[in-house]
Symmetry: C2
Subunit: 337 residues, 2 copies
Amino acid sequence: MKVLLDTKSGDAPPEEIINGAIGALQSESGRDLQVTLVGDEKFNRQHVESQESNQRNISYINAPHRISMEDTPTKAVRENPDSSLVKGIKAIKDKSQIFISSGNTGAVVAGALFNLGRIPGVIRPGLAGVIPTVKSGKVILIDIGATTDADARNLAQFGIMGNSFARKVLGKEEPKVGILNIGAEQSKGNRLTKKTIDLLHKTDLKYVGNVEPHLLLTNPPADVVICEGFTGNILIKAFEGGSEGTIGFFKKAISSSLRAKIGGFILRPVLEKLKHELSYAQFGAVPLLGVRGVVFVAHGRSESRAIKNAILYASQASRWDLPGEIEAEIKRVDFGE
Amino acid sequence: MKVLLDTKSGDAPPEEIINGAIGALQSESGRDLQVTLVGDEKFNRQHVESQESNQRNISYINAPHRISMEDTPTKAVRENPDSSLVKGIKAIKDKSQIFISSGNTGAVVAGALFNLGRIPGVIRPGLAGVIPTVKSGKVILIDIGATTDADARNLAQFGIMGNSFARKVLGKEEPKVGILNIGAEQSKGNRLTKKTIDLLHKTDLKYVGNVEPHLLLTNPPADVVICEGFTGNILIKAFEGGSEGTIGFFKKAISSSLRAKIGGFILRPVLEKLKHELSYAQFGAVPLLGVRGVVFVAHGRSESRAIKNAILYASQASRWDLPGEIEAEIKRVDFGE
């Protein structure tokens, strides 16, 4: 089981990302893991040698160029074959190998499309976020930003791909599939949701109807929630903002009186832990479904703990053969033109 | 100054809504207010008589029919001229009169379009939410659900209307206007945001670029943030869910240890207050901009406190002449076909 790790494209410096890899290799569940660091080989090798005595499971690919968050994805991928992002994706040889990048999401998507290609039958890929809920375990939201301007056929396929992923990651035989919408009532929605719902009825997915966003974090009525990529990305960032905002307001509130200050002091460790848990770091990394290979995108801000979690989480995926599953499922439904 | 209040269309029972009106009339800032209760007159009159000795400032319009949350907006409005929602909108006589409903948002929009019409030059109306932020006062988000499937011209007009509203409600001479987007970089976005940005450059708005959703609640770089109605509605509901989710996770966390339980016990009143503050009730009501009259939509779940706040907040708007302002501003820019 091998993880190809992009050390150059994220917001965090390479040493932070490498420390995440070392943390994963040293952990209980990371024993069988191999990590290939894709980036500035000389720097990466030096940093590993300064940190870690056991270097058996670490190898290197030299890719000195960095694609930045500001670069235009398609252009950047075409013009930078020597980038860590492109070289890492190209290095995926078989289904036991996984690529993880905390770089420019658009560039990872473009790089995967150009170099791995789509699974036969898949029109556009989708990023499948796994979101913790207060009451009902985890829920999968797809797409959270791979395909902006997605159409109804794309969304229906996100449902099929999300369903395959949910079977594996949630271990549910027949996951419930819903669509993100602005109301619970059937009449609610826009042109896209209405068209998508028509297509979903043609599949054998266990379709359960509309899911309102405020239920996603508490008690969503579905295991897989379909949405358009622009909207999904807005939603994920809104949850991040909603949590940060609430904690911000909370911190303001606990300095409002002596009693509040005392309670706040006692609760500080709990609050810090919660802030950590609700931060992007818990998501670890999200798979890009629909391409011929296993590619995970981690949050741009990922530091060592988030990278460690991302590696341990993504490495499970090598056992799942998601591309194979998706190919079999996507073939079964033809949505026409 | 007169508020026409729909007592029949919300999720809360009429007596709850009437109690909100009585609360507003009894408050310091509600002294000059007149409230007309639009709903089942007999019931409303009886409830007022049982609650309130001073009934000088309360009048009645009998509109026994209810448009429900499940009704299809356009159809419901056409078929139910006797509904509280339609009769209330029709009763608006001049700019000192305001209609408030906590009913079906789509039906309020359809009712206002049919019975008041659009301000000359306005293509589609927008709902302007006022959102509290942790660090930088309030921010206006438009549209939060009046126009799903909005196009770039609609969005650019939301910018102009939001700008007029921000001048009044935030008291800023030249509000900063941004667009909701999935990244801070200029290259980010979908077809709609890109087209809209081109149009915004043709206006004399103080356009400041992209605003990412996670900054909205903390420290947004703009005073007015433009978005498409479907996306805006998802975003508002996600913030609601993000706050509720965070508080839910927090409650779980404070039962995790004895120390946490003690801190949680001490902080309970702070937590309850915060939950209240972050709930929909603080938004009070949001104006529907672009129609020829002053119409506010309150959250469907509004109970008496939320209705009271909605009335006091909306009643300020009678001094602003928003329709007049918007008509003058919208005329100045022609976005073509």
